[in-house]
Symmetry: C2
Subunit: 215 residues, 2 copies
DNA sequence: GACTGTGAAGCCATTCACAGCT
DNA sequence: AGCTGTGAATGGCTTCACAGTC
C-alpha cells in the first residue's frame, strides 16, 4: 500500500470534476475524455489526467472514461459515500441562507443544528430547524455524530466559537469570518472570505495581474 | 516605469494583510513587523516581506512598518480608494444574505441593485433595496457606473445571467453557482463554491492530504 | 540588535511529449 | 487512429540566508 501526498489544488479540482460528471450522468452521457472534462471545467486535459492519476487508473486508452464509474470513484475518494451532518454557529442572514442552501444537500451535506447566543434568534425556526443556544452544541455534536462545523458569526465572536468547536472534537471547520482562527494543527480550517475575493477582482480591474510602480 | 507580474496568491494575501492592519490600527497599534503580521494572519515572515516587495519598500530596517501608512498603501494597491457599487443577480436566501452582509460595506463594496426573474421576488424589499426584474439591470449598471456583478441564481440560470453581465460590459464577476461559466477572457470570474470547500475537508478527514491506494 | 529587502536555492505544481493500450 | 498514463521539462511560488539599514 503506497501513500502519496496529493496537492490541495488537485483535491479542489477533483471535487469540481465530480460535480461535472454528475451533470453529464444526469444528461445521459456515458463516456467522456479528459479533453471534454477539461473543456467543461476550464483546465487542461493533461491536468485532468494528472489529477486522476494520483488515485489510480480509471480510463481506457483510446476510449476515455466511463462517466458513471468515474463519478463513483471521485465521490468515494472525496469521502462522499456517507452523509455529512454539520453544526452551524450563527443564525444571522448568512447562517439562515446556509441552512436553506440546496447545493449542500445535493452532495450529502446537511446542517442538522443551528446555534446562536443572540436571545432574539434562539427559538427562531429555519425550515425544519430551530435555533438553539450555543451551549447546546456539544450535546448535539455528540448525538448526531457531527464532525464538521460552520462559523457564520460576527468576527469578534469567531475565535470563541472555534475554540468551542475544537473542544468538542470537530476537526474540520468552514469559516466565514474574515479572520485567521487559531486552532491546533490537527484541525482543518477552510476560510471563505468574500471581501478577499472581491478585492482580487478590484486589484485586477486596475492592473490586470501586473503592477506598474509609479515612477 | 517597470511592470511586473504579481502572483494571484500574493494579491489574496495582500487583502488579508490589509484587513489585519485595519484591525491593528483600530486597536491603536502604530508599528508592526513582518513577523507580527505573519503571526496574525498565519503565513511566514519572509512571505509577508516578499509579497510587499512586489509593490515597493514600505518598511524601515530595524524598525518595521508604520501601521497606518502600510494600511493605506495596501488599500491603494487593492484599488479600494473608491467605493464599489455592485449588481446582484438572484434574490433568494443567498442573495438576500449578501445584500445585508456587513463586511462588504466595511471595505467599500455595496450592492446597489438586486435583480431576479422570479415574479414572486420582484418588488420584495431587502433593507433599502427593491428587487427588480433582470431586464432592468442594464440601465442600472449604466446609471450607477457598476463594474462588478454577483451571481447568486440557481445553477441552470447562471450562464444566462453571466452572458447578460458580459453584454453590459461588466469585467469582474463573483459567481456562487457551482459551474464553470463561459466568458470572454477579458472578463474575470471568481468562483465561490461552498461544496468544493466542504469536499476538501471531507477528503482530508479521511486521508489527511495523503492518499493510500487500496492494494 | 533588530528588522527589512532580496538574490539564490529549493520545492511544488503544471505542461509537455510520447510510450502504451484498445 | 484515438486517448490514457506518466517521466521529464518547465515554470512559478515559497523559503532561506544574508547584506543593508536604522
Amino acid at each position: 500500500m503506497k501513500t502519496l501526498r496529493v496537492p490541495e489544488a488537485t483535491v479542489t479540482r477533483l471535487s469540481i470534476y465530480s460535480r461535472f460528471l454528475e451533470r453529464l450522468d444526469r444528461n445521459g452521457v456515458t463516456s467522456v475524455s479528459s479533453g471534454e472534462i477539461a473543456e467543461g471545467v476550464g483546465v487542461s486535459p493533461a491536468q485532468v489526467r494528472k489529477d486522476l492519476a494520483y488515485f489510480g487508473e480509471f480510463g481506457t486508452r483510446g476510449v476515455g472514461y466511463n462517466v458513471k464509474d468515474l463519478m463513483h470513484y471521485t465521490m468515494k475518494i472525496l469521502n462522499l459515500t456517507q452523509p455529512w451532518p454539520m453544526a452551524l454557529a450563527g443564525a444571522g442572514n448568512l447562517g439562515t441562507a446556509l441552512c436553506t442552501y440546496r447545493n449542500f444537500r445535493e452532495r450529502g451535506f446537511a446542517i442538522v443544528g443551528v446555534f446562536d447566543n443572540d436571545l432574539t434568534k434562539i427559538g427562531k425556526r429555519i425550515e425544519d430547524l430551530t435555533v438553539q443556544p450555543l451551549e447546546e452544541m456539544p450535546q448535539v455534536i455528540k448525538q448526531r455524530g457531527i464532525r464538521i462545523g460552520i462559523i457564520a458569526v460576527p468576527t469578534r465572536a469567531a475565535q470563541e466559537v472555534a475554540d468551542l468547536m475544537v473542544r468538542n472534537h470537530l476537526k474540520a471547520i468552514l469559516n466565514f469570518a474574515p479572520i485567521a482562527l487559531n486552532v491546533p494543527e490537527d484541525v482543518m480550517i477552510r476560510n471563505v472570505d468574500l471581501s478577499v475575493s472581491l478585492e482580487v477582482l478590484t486589484f485586477n480591474l486596475k492592473y490586470r495581474g501586473t503592477y506598474e510602480s509609479e515612477e
